[in-house]
Amino acid sequence: MSVRDAFIFALNIYLTGTAITFIIWILIVAVSRFTKKG
């Protein structure tokens, strides 16, 4: 694996992690609204 490929691979991982973190944020907001309604 070249350094360039490694950088792209790591960037891919980082962006995937960021996207999943965004999902977690949506989940927290959704859970918060649901529990407050309950």
Binding site: V3, A10, I13, K36
Partner: protein
Amino acid sequence: MENFISIFPGIQSFFQMPPEMAIARLLLIGLGFLLLYLGCKDVLEPLIMVPMGVGICLVNAGMLMMPDLADPNKQKLGTMFLDSMVNTPTDHINALQVYFLQPIYALTFSNGLIACMVFLGIGAITELDFFVGNPKLSLMLAIPAELGTFLTFPIAIAMGFTPRESAAIAVIGGADGPMVLFASLQLAKNLFVPISIISYIYLSVVYSGYPYLIKALVPKKLRGIPMKEMKIIKVSSEEKIAFSIVTGTVLSLLFPVAAPLFVSFFLGVIIRESKVTRYIHFADDVILTGSTLFLGFLLGCLLSADIVVNPQMFKLIVLGFVALFLSGVGGLLGGYVVCWLSKGKINPLIGIAGVSCVPSTAKVAHKCANEANEEAFILPYAMGPNIAGVITTAILTACYVTKVQML
């Protein structure tokens, strides 16, 4: 003279090994004393450094020539502590009869259980209020604080490590001991011992090292922002339990390979929030305390001279430093961004708490803010990104473990 020395096999073993190994052994005995001393003086994290220092010191002192388990007719230098290199079931059974720490190593280290037990304990002592109350701010700060986890991977590749080894090394940037253990056990068992030891030593140094980074990159005026205008939203236990079970389920669905870590952490959180006092004491006082003691002691016992003379060790020392340095810089950059977005109401130091290493980085941020302005009390705010850092590190570790195995 030779006959006299043979009465003491530990001393005799110095003359039966190559000179560089003998010197490394002596240096490691000294290192064990040093870590123990610094741990007792609270310069380094005593919970890990005290048992690790004892382990390093004694394992390198207590070496002797003993029968090789793989071929009993041969003799090899070893200890009565443990053998981390046994592979076959027969060797495992034989090792259990000889080495006194082998049962703990076989049952808790080789399958990653020790990391999960530490994580369960961390979950049980984690206060989620600020994180669940302010998820956007917390997660926004945790993402840039993973800069080291991102950039260390290509740097490690450039230094000649394989993708699996590089991913295990990159996880040091997440500054979360259990995650480093888990990733190295999954991806680079050959480097598990040096990676884990280096990461735990660096994580202990974070408390005394990061203040220099903060003072170098953040002016005193910004360090002293008191954050008085920001309210801490009170979150109910039901909300935190609902968040834990939903997030744990979703993350386990996305990354089954890291499900043991997720389940351990969120089980700990749910135990805390369900207010079952006996479980909370068990998770904190028994599981976390016991697993931290054995983690430190066994890691120390695994650090023998043959690992130190490995040429990759120096590269790992450099990469560990680079990973945590970059994550610290990334965290402070994230702090600057939220400070700017809030028009100066948020102290940028809470960004470095996103590096994780619960709760050291949050305490460092608070200490530095308090030194700059006595009215600045930012610890509760720093705990949000601190917890978010644990979650983002778990996510990135799961991404690495899953994707690197596909290469």
